[in-house]
Symmetry: C2
Subunit: 327 residues, 2 copies
């Protein structure tokens, strides 16, 4: 039995209960097989209610992104114009790196409805269920030298923040370098993977994971104190296509500004959105923890930290404050 | 006809001429097929003389690296201890990137007798005939943030210089960032390919191509004014295993020094070997040419250049002086 047959049967009953026995008879399969297919459909974002003695009832279908809906909303020259909209992939990052090695142009976008092996910073797994978030990777081929890559990490955080607050009435704070927080809880993750030859960047893959319409039950319990979705934060579900279009527009605009005018305007925007500056915090660097007060960004994109003795130090790699696990 | 049969036949005659007609008869193939196989053997480093009316004569066999010869010479803890000695590959860099993605440990080395698609800086092809050079890639997994990668480029140049002058009585000058010159001609190329997630380096593949025992006829004519081999420069052929062992030893030693003490000692060594400093030169940057006098390296590994108006500028990506084509 394919899960499609089960889906047709439930859809035909238009929201009424169908008993497991009836399904089992009509599709000529065991009750256990029916249950397994129900689980598969749920993993794909269908919402199926199971009530003892009554049976199964289709309550909701996954929201699906479509190229036909998305493309007319794009207000960009290049970003998202080469669009790969996929159903399920292990990770949009891996898919994009493959395309990048094959010569895909700047602005190419890979979106997946679902990731089975989504990755966050430090190889952490990332909760990315079907139909409820935006899991996508954008390809850049920036004509800037390798040491300036951290500037692009910061640029991505600013672009995402600006797009979100355009679409949703929430306040976003950027935690250095690129975590976006709403009321102190993480709403999105950004991961830049770069490939370089000597000091020349070959490409940068900007991975963005945004918890849009996830509900509390989509998160492991221990994550609920640290993570939140835009729907949970604002009380309303969002149209994901609108948000994707806004992200691409903000990102392209800031990227062009950066290529024209350099890092200065990006730095100002980042500093204005930051929740990391001017508060004493612990920075967990690969060389150990540092206690200090982050004061701003330097020209390269490093974080200038004022230490207890009044001296200043620039940090390029660290985690700020509590270590966030699993998101 | 396999080229092996032809080789056995020529070897059996121990340096005497064998006529094409005789080969053709004994191996039961056309004269044209014989000629094609001769060409293939030559591409692998065999030296076969062809004289009209006399025939073919085997004059030299390719020098071959062997793990049994190389391993006892290694004086390293990790560098080269995981050794992949290959016959022909498109590029040792691509091979190593594949191994790196599979989790190969730091110090893993890929050496190829011959590359069919060797690459230098800027995607230029690299002359890498069989048995006459050292074409290899070394894997690093440095615990340093991405913006410091240029320091590793400079470290590689110093390590290679020191190893070469230990083995060969020549004077090496480093042209920024990592070209090694003997009497102004290029003797080796270094290419670092790095992969990063945000500011964390996942790995760096250090590609090294050294023209060891190439003869003038191995180079395209237009390259002879710009490139030279160690054999041509010193008058003597070198044992390639000795040089590989020296390179790995110097590289590991400098790398450990760098991880312990930072960039300062590497910078001093680089500046001492440099032929770029304190001479007016043109720097071809992605944003256009800059005329100035390079004065030294900054803390990050950038090149500090004094401009005509007395101001100073740090360059991370440029080609110094004449653009070298094809090597």
């Amino acid at each position: 039995m394919g899960k499609e047959n089960l889906l047709h049967l439930l859809e035909a009953e238009a929201g009424e209960y169908v008993s497991g026995e009836e399904i089992s008879r009509k599709l000529n399969v065991s009750r256990t097989a029916v249950w397994k297919q129900v689980r598969k459909l749920e993993a794909e974002g269908y919402h199926i209610e199971a009530v003892p003695r009554l049976g199964y009832r289709l309550q909701g279908k996954p929201s699906r992104l479509s190229v036909h809906e998305l493309l007319p909303k794009l207000n960009t020259k290049r970003f998202g114009r080469q669009l790969h909209l996929l159903d399920v992939v292990p990770s949009t990052q891996d898919e994009m790196r493959r395309l990048a090695e094959q010569g895909a142009p700047e602005g190419t976008l890979v979106i997946a409805e679902q990731q089975t092996n989504g990755r966050g910073r430090m190889g952490r797994s990332w909760v990315s269920p079907a139909g409820k978030g935006i899991w996508m990777s954008l390809l850049l081929r920036p004509p800037v030298p390798l040491p300036l890559t951290p500037q692009l990490t910061l640029l991505a955080a600013v672009a995402l923040s600006r797009a979100i607050i355009r679409e949703v009435p929430v306040t976003i704070g950027i935690k250095w370098p690129n975590d976006l927080l709403v009321n102190g809880k993480k709403i999105s993750g950004i991961l830049l993977e770069s490939a370089a030859e000597d000091e020349r960047l070959r490409y940068v893959v900007v991975g963005m994971g945004i918890s849009v319409n996830l509900d509390a039950e989509d998160y492991p319990e221990d994550l609920l104190t640290k993570a939140v979705s835009l729907k949970m934060a604002s009380g309303n579900a969002l149209n994901r296509s609108d948000l994707i279009a806004s992200i691409l527009e903000e990102f392209e605009r800031l990227y062009e500004l950066y290529l024209e005018q350099g890092f200065a305007p990006i730095r100002s925007l980042w500093e204005a959105h930051s929740v990391t500056l001017n508060k004493e915090t612990t920075l967990h660097t690969p060389q150990g923890p540092i206690l200090g007060v982050p004061r701003g960004l330097d020209d390269m994109g490093g974080l200038k930290v004022e230490l207890a003795d009044g001296s200043s130090r620039t940090i390029y790699s660290a985690e700020v404050g509590d270590r966030v696990v699993g998101s």
